[in-house]
Symmetry: C2
Subunit: 762 residues, 2 copies
């Protein structure tokens, strides 16, 4: 089903400055757009409540020495007239290659505003020295809104035209004026890391919380403002609206952060005579930028977009025709709608891969957790103070005896995977270079080709294949992207040769080329370049430390996962709060699945290692994550021997699907609890998971979503009565019964706990 | 013949601060080395005359947030003791794959000083926040000198050691204290261009000349100081010494410039309280650098090394074991020794390619000059304000009618090459993307794969091969190195498929990734990466706009040429001075051959185009360049129809070799005249060329280098009596006679002219 009707299109030159109202299909979401003193301005409401108060749209452009070559310098901020409007509806249902539901409806009202700037340039001298003659300029940009029942997406579009061919972005100045002092779940804005603990504060408290919110010991920290936060940003208003700001389809463009204008900003601005922390990036980082204070400061509680810069401080180099990513605002008065929203996927382009037969959901285990915990090592030797790949004969070096990715251990994992129906085995540390891989500014850090001498790549792949298992490749780039791109083609060829069909990539540490950032335009281009090149080799990609996703997996469904947030590894680095996994689905997961690597059963790491950290979760809670943290790629992260201690509980991981025909969010509240029921793809089986924070949670699940007349073998994995994430995490019960439509499950989740239910159709 | 004897090796800990004297094999060049108040210091003399007065050696290191990971921050400037010395001799004769002579003798006395720093660090907090405990540090570096009869080379070496594993270079501070106010032939120091006209001034006049020396209209200009100059820097002292400073074997290291400390520097330093233009780079460009004025300012007339920075202002990221390039000082009281010196080649590593059978000297013509002049175009269409490669169906676009690289024209050039014994035909503008290729910050600017619709790559290569000619590939990168590296492998595969064996690469415009510079460590790594990858495909490389060469062609002889200076194209951009080609062999050519693209016969471009520029050379002078500008790759740059007008003169280009068994510089004076006789490789034929400046030159050439008893058919291409580069450039005479050993040729070179002689053994 696909319909697209233009029912309103008219043209005035210029149009009267009256607001245009655009309603979502069910009328709940209402957008208003107008030109306010030459500046494009919008508002948003939900069921009559303010979501976004009048907010300006625009971009500041950077001066460039190539202005005389056609580069644009005049800002795309003001002086606009509205010369054309178009409104249309769209309604289509499409099927993702993998996902939470078999069908996704994409139903919106679209509104396009065509804006024109005209001016006469003064005679000027370009930075190159060339004399520029005065002349008349005219250029047009479009702002395209799509209004859904659960929010809006909008973007800037730049048609190809004589007066707008190339331009450099100083910064995008999209405003989101919040209607009140909402509660927000936020991460410090940062150009290089998104692995912090989420903060929960009022908007007015962001500034005062910032200092403690930042993990200053993380060498990747690149915080840019005391009120800068990341997207996806989840908020809740005092009048009960859930509001989420993020972006969709961020490809060859810098990742957006949000900088809050608060009362202090206004105070500082007044004090600094036109300067403001929202609008005054250090002059040294923005070459030739327009003077601070060129545009008036928005009201407090307004977020202003702040893009990730490149090494020179610029935010983007654009060539028309082009467009920005979609800026998304999801809104509802029901928190569950935040989780079931497909707005971001819908705003991405349809699948561009012709053949997707090789893409498949994957459960895997891996030689990983024991290195994260510190019991064994990625590197093979401790013999050298530093290594250069070309200079070492690996057959002659002295092993350190701690190298995990050895033949014996990998075979053990293969056996475990085969026995338990896991599809793949990740092996980290298989390839030479781990001796000094991080934070040394080493360009030529890995070759992605050469196994350590104790990793027999041919034998192990053969062994795995003989048991119906595949190995899962690992490419840690150490953020030396130039080096990775130089070796990537051969690395993928090697994967094809040995039968790998998925790779976990990593971007730990500082970007090389130096000065670039993880979330810049060029890095976002790189991540997608890898995905596209991998697709040519029928390789699925799971990129860690890459930019937080924005739904590009719809277009390139071989992007089966990302980390891009604080994952399970932090349970070994001091731990994460118990509510962490009740926040991530509202924030990080909006843009795409996370390779959270759940499944820790032995939460006290000192029981089998020297690591004194402990995971803040119960075993039943760990099982719940396979439902509440949707991903087509799910790891069973703990050690085989740890699972073997709790084989009855591990049965759930054996059983659970990771691709779905249907998903129903039964309950949800950010940072408190999430309960979801999902129907496994192509089956009549259902799985239910519930996860809660440190306060525990009680729930009654009415099984009215089951097929009428059908019976189900129901297995309930629940926290025992005395279970507690800190004191008694391994106390669980397993109950079996037969259920039918309409039955009710009464379940109690322990503090930091949860439950998991399998319902196998009889 | 290869001998290496250690005849002096002793050890003291620490040694007394007395100077060590090292003499060259014939004793003319004398090096002195000592530790002066903890700083390594050297002097150099030639036949008792001062060449370098006491000059310090050292490097300033940059602070890094990864200090706690083992990064070094303490400067390698002072606090040194001499703990070991080694002296040895070396004498070897080797054969280059191609070159000016069949045999090259590498004969030097080597002196190695082992220097130690010891200190106890104070407790400190690393940038990462980690607490650093005080401890005892000890590290050693080596300074290795090689003392030749015609100069010295020296470099810093950094052995692998616990206290020196990784470090970042803030700048190298190698001093070259000149003994007087020499005359210098210099180019403005610049991170991105070396295509300026050479300036001839006293050292004391560099500052006042700088403003006019810079072509400010060139958008690539990145001048860093009012006294910064490039190497190779040629000087002449008032007492008649010729001194040249350059570098050898600059691979994964930033290109060195020289910043002169002059009287004004001292004055400014005094005024600015410790600041100086030699030692105070803008703090914003050197992260965490040590405070200005940490080290005392050298005396006036001292050059201090200044490396090319990366986008963050850093000059290098190093991992031990490693070394700097060699810093070279060639010296003689005979200008001809400057030209015949093999010091820079000798300081490079021997050939690393196992099979070199596919590398060959090449004469070529090309579809090039008419685009440079502006008569035709590289691009195929003018239809679009900008293009994106993926969006265009090239078979449907409207041709502009000016596209030069079309089947008909290329066939015409192939016919011309075949008829005249030229090996190859360069075709620029064969591939899509030229419509908006430069200065637009376009990353995805070319794919190096797709020909324009009027260039039938299969047919044209077949046609060429059927006539015994090859096409010469062209890869203009537009300095988007990331894009080039992404496409390079496939581009080389395409070359292999169609039978190309040489590529001219280009690096016009600003480097992408943005902020990087043409001569930075990463770019130098890139250029060599291309050469190495090309070698795997048996492809010869001729890189334009790349870093000025430093003799790496010894190690990778498929690097057959570079531009890296102001080439013939500037004759169409306003012209170059007549003495330009009498300077280049002293400067630019020290590091390796230049693809100067000589051979302009029709110097008044407006006789066949709208270009009003004119080449400042006579036809006889143009012929001379094939001898005086040594290169294994020589172009006949003018149009076939222009050569056909002067076919008797063109005979010399047909005849002249471009690989030699012997070369004898008969006369030379920088910027005045150069006369050289060369014996063609594997033959008994000799060729002689003489080129002079705007003043003309008279010479008597005694043919005592000819074989005794042998007779030679001698053809002399000389300026006619009334020839003049401006008023009568096409007036030449061709004289034939038979000569023998001991005969004398009396020749007169017109202003801006020259002569060429072929001596074919009978």
């Amino acid at each position: 089903m696909k319909r697209k009707n233009f029912f309103l299109a008219f043209m005035l030159l210029p149009m009267a400055a009256m607001a245009t109202e655009v309603k979502s299909p069910n009328g709940n979401v209402v957008l208003n757009f107008t030109i306010d003193d030459g500046r494009p301005t919008y508002t948003l409401s939900y069921k009559g409540k303010d979501v976004v108060r009048p907010s300006h749209l625009g971009l500041e452009l950077a001066k460039d020495k190539h202005a005389s070559m056609g580069m644009n310098e005049r800002d795309l901020m003001d002086g606009f007239t509205l010369v054309k409007e178009e409104t249309s509806t769209f309604d289509e249902t499409w099927q993702p290659i993998w996902g939470e539901t078999r069908d996704i409806r994409n139903h919106y009202v679209e509104y396009v505003a065509v804006l024109q700037q005209q001016w006469r340039s003064a005679p000027a001298k370009a930075a190159s020295g060339m004399q520029l003659q005065p002349r008349q300029h005219r250029r047009e940009i479009l702002i395209r809104f799509r209004v859904y029942d659960d929010g809006i997406g909008f973007r800037y579009e730049f048609p190809q035209q004589q007066d707008l061919n190339y331009f450099l972005i100083k910064d995008e100045r999209t405003e989101f004026a919040m209607a009140g002092d909402h509660t927000a779940w936020w991460l410090p804005g940062d150009y290089d890391t998104q692995e912090q603990e989420t903060q929960e504060t009022k908007l007015s408290e962001i500034r005062s919380r910032m200092q403690e919110a930042v993990n200053w010991g993380n060498s990747s920290v690149a915080v840019f403002s005391m009120t800068g936060v990341q997207t996806s940003l989840q908020m809740k208003s005092q009048d009960g609206l859930y509001i989420n700001i993020h972006e969709a389809a961020c490809a060859d463009y810098a990742t957006m952060h949000l900088e809050l204008v608060d009362a202090k900003t206004t105070e500082l601005t007044t004090k600094l005579m036109g300067g403001s922390n929202a609008y005054t990036p250090a002059p040294s980082t923005v070459p030739g930028g327009s003077p601070a204070g060129s545009y008036p400061l928005p009201q407090p509680f307004t977020f202003v977009s702040h893009l990730t810069p490149d090494a020179t401080g610029l935010k983007g180099a654009m060539q028309t025709p082009c467009e920005t990513p979609w800026r998304t605002i999801i809104v509802s008065d029901d928190a569950r709608d935040m989780l079931s929203s497909n707005l971001i996927l819908n705003l991405n382009e349809p699948c561009k891969l012709e053949d997707t037969s090789w893409i498949h959901p994957t459960k895997y285990c891996g030689v990983w957790w024991e290195m994260i915990v510190g019991k064994s090592s990625w590197n093979y030797t401790d013999e050298f103070p530093s290594i250069k790949l070309d200079n070492i004969d690996w057959t002659k070096v002295k092993p350190n005896g701690r190298h995990a990715a050895n033949n014996e251990k990998v075979k053990r994992y293969i056996d475990f995977a085969a026995k338990n129906g896991l599809d793949q085995v990740l092996v980290e540390g298989w390839n030479v270079g781990w001796e000094d891989w991080a934070n040394m500014w080493k360009r030529d850090v890995f070759d992605f080709q050469t196994p350590y001498p104790d990793f027999d790549i041919q034998m192990l792949n053969d062994y795995a294949h003989s048991k119906g298992v595949k190995l899962l490749m690992h490419h840690e780039t150490s953020s030396s992207t130039q080096n990775y791109e130089r070796h990537m083609e051969k690395a993928f060829q090697l994967m094809n040769k040995y039968g790998y069909d998925a790779v976990k990539t990593g971007y730990v540490g500082d970007i090389i080329p130096r000065g670039d950032h993880h979330y810049s335009q060029s890095m976002n281009n790189h991540y997608l370049y890898v995905v596209k090149e991998a697709a040519k080799h029928h390789i699925m990609v799971n990129a860690h430390e890459a930019t937080r996703p924005t739904g590009l997996c719809r277009t390139y469904p071989n992007l089966v996962g990302n980390e891009s947030a604080r994952g399970t590894e932090y349970e070994a680095f001091g731990g994460s709060r118990p509510d962490h996994t009740c926040i991530l689905p509202f924030t990080r997961l909006q843009g795409g699945p996370m390779d959270y690597t759940p499944g820790i059963f032995v939460t006290r790491l000192n029981t089998w290692s020297n690591n004194t950290s402990w995971a803040r979760i119960t075993i039943a809670g760990s099982l719940a994550l396979y439902l509440t943290m949707y991903s087509p790629l799910q790891m069973a992260a703990d050690l085989p021997e740890n699972y073997e201690q709790f084989d009855d509980a591990f049965q759930f991981i054996r059983d659970v699907a990771c691709d779905w025909d249907e998903s129903i969010y039964l309950e949800a509240e950010p940072a408190d609890y999430i309960t979801v029921a999902r129907k496994a793809k192509g089956t009549d089986n259902w799985f239910i998971g519930g996860k809660c924070d440190e306060n525990g949670h009680k729930t009654n699940i009415k099984l009215d979503f089951l097929d009428k007349g059908k019976k189900y073998d129901c297995t309930i994995y629940a926290d025992a009565k005395d279970a507690h994430y800190e004191t008694n995490p391994q106390a669980y019960t397993i109950t079996k019964r037969v259920v039918k439509q309409g039955d009710v499950l009464k379940l109690t989740e322990a503090p930091g706990g949860g439950f998991a239910v399998s319902l196998m159709a009889k």
